[in-house]
Symmetry: C2
Subunit: 98 residues, 2 copies
């Protein structure tokens, strides 16, 4: 029972500096501003949301090449930001320019 | 640019009563407790998170047949709970027992 997969498109709205964990792993936090039309219960609705995201390792080096404002498609799993907060963060393993 | 798709498995951790919107649409709020192993930057890690979820219309009638503690797989899109909060909620269009 390991399914946890989120795919989202949007605009790169925030992009932190590349950092390294104590273990030497590249790490970039960023934010994807998503806007789309979705169908729910037979009705079309507008969906706008900001998705907090995190890239570790090779994906972090990819994200670090991007610019705020670019349109991307990102995929990965959702996890809680920390034990103290229920905020969900997308941990990406793939990101491409749209 | 309309991609926004989340698929998650877990245990039905909370299940509100079936209600109806002013327009007469069935509505059930619930919560999925997810636990899995995910690979990130070449390392396997444990992921535990609670996913707030919402079903409107026919999916709400499906969810209303379920019991807390059952294992489910749910799919849908993520949206903000409201204009006032950035909390993400999974709006499901499909849910099955695992």
């Amino acid at each position: 029972m390991d399914c946890n997969r989120f795919s989202v498109c949007g605009e790169l709205a925030e992009l932190d500096d590349l950092r390294y964990t104590p273990a030497g792993l590249a790490r970039v936090a960023f934010r994807i501003r998503h806007s789309s039309m979705q169908t729910e219960a037979g009705m079309v609705r507008q969906v706008n949301c900001d998705i907090p995201a995190l890239a570790l390792g090779t994906p972090a080096l990819q994200v670090n090449q991007l610019q705020v404002g670019q349109r991307v498609k990102a995929e990965g799993f959702l996890a809680q930001r920390s034990m103290r907060t229920s905020q969900l963060v997308l941990h990406i393993d793939n990101i491409i320019l749209e």
